[in-house]
Amino acid sequence: MLEVVELECMRGDRRLFTGLSFKLEPGELLHLHGRNGSGKTTLMRTVCGLIRPSAGEILWDGEGIWDQGDDFNRDLVYIGHKNGIKDDLNGIENLRICSVLDGVQINESQAWDALEKMGLRGHEDLPARVLSQGQKRRVTLARLLTHDAKLWVLDEPFTALDKAAVEFLQSVIRDHVANGGMVILTTHQEVNLTRGHPKQLQLGWKGEGDV
């Protein structure tokens, strides 16, 4: 379970949000809203542990994420604005490197399967440099299929994807939540769940937000 307590984040001299608290239980999805620059990405990066909050705590299973290090990282996938794939490597190589870093060993045929499911059939062995934006995004998102992490933090996962890929990703997210996973995401798309409703969190309008 993820618990955020009285979180405050400063960027330079600007206070992006303060006193922000929310809880995310297994099988829940949190949809972040907010206009551009309201701190959605900062909040996500803080939750991942990339940015140290200026005040407040983030607890994973009751323990601060900064105290448990790799245990938290093992349960987490973060997909940000940057794809994190290498332009000179092909899809298979990229996916396999990512999975070694994630600590889940996959063999070559598993990598082929994941990319094919992601709709990259016939483009798996091209260097990422020649792929389109949407295809690169698909290579990145293929990580979600090979990973068994509980918490997914997805920053605008649908950008550059075509209609079919958006549909597919929606179903992947739905399955993850239905299987007791947790998802935090920002997107301008409507997210539909099979069971329950996504939690909504509005950033920026009232200075602080609550679920």
């Binding site: 794809n83 794939i85 000179d88 490597l89 070694v100 600590g103």
Partner: protein, 222 residues
């Protein structure tokens, strides 16, 4: 743990092989700078022999600065770095893997080329060997120390120049003992002492530089 080290090392080596210009720029810079001195000074063997250790070592130092900027910037720009920071793996190992790859790509060619360069300065066989060994011990230390500077200047404009300003003063001990070893061998004093010191510097750098690099990377990634 070894698996991750190997994966990062192989990834960076593969990337370098697919984009070879980076490798050759460092090597050519080294070759050109070292060759300019005999041309400029003229064929006076005594002078050349005297300045050889210093010139070769300074050239090695400068050319190792050239490639430093690219050590982390590519990973930073395409987002691979933040994924590495979030990976449930010891980051120390990942940094070590990246630095090892960097040394194999930029350091080793320089080491292998150095005896040939030393010939232009009329160094004796023994002195050439000492030059090779001193560079073999010194260049990994330069890569390790340089990584700290590269990590600190990540994401800054004009980072390349800043790296050199930060790292060059830190590399002075390596330069002193590296050039000193060759000089001592040329003058018949025995080079062991200097080489032991270089070994000690390398071990220290191996233990502490990745930690400092890691701390700097965490700050830059914010």
């Amino acid at each position: 743990m070894f698996e991750v080290y190997r994966a990062i090392l192989m990834r960076d080596l593969t990337l370098a092989l697919r984009r070879r210009s980076d490798v050759f720029i460092t090597l050519f810079f080294f070759v050109v700078v070292v060759s300019l001195f005999p041309l400029g000074i003229g064929p006076e063997m005594d002078t050349l022999r005297m300045i050889a250790p210093g010139v070769v070592w300074v050239a090695a130092l400068l050319s190792s600065m050239l490639a430093l900027e690219r050590l982390f910037t590519v990973d930073f720009d395409d987002g691979a770095l933040e994924q590495m920071l979030l990976a449930p793996q010891p980051m120390f190992i990942l940094v070590l893997g990246k630095v090892t790859a960097h040394w194999l790509i930029t350091g080793i060619p320089l080491v292998l080329m150095s005896p040939l360069m030393g010939l232009q300065y009329d160094l004796s066989g023994n002195a050439l060997l000492v030059l090779l060994v001193s560079l073999l011990l010194g260049t990994p230390a330069l890569s390790l120390i340089g990584a700290i500077g590269a990590a600190l200047t990540l994401g800054l404009r004009g980072g390349g120049v800043l790296v050199s300003l930060l790292v060059l003063p830190l590399s002075i001990p390596v330069l002193i003992f590296g050039a000193g070893a060759v000089e001592a061998s040329v003058s018949g004093l025995g080079e062991q002492g200097h080489l032991y010191m270089m070994g000690a510097i390398l071990v220290l750098a191996l233990l502490f530089a990745p930690l400092a690099t890691l701390a700097a990377l965490r700050i830059s990634a914010e």
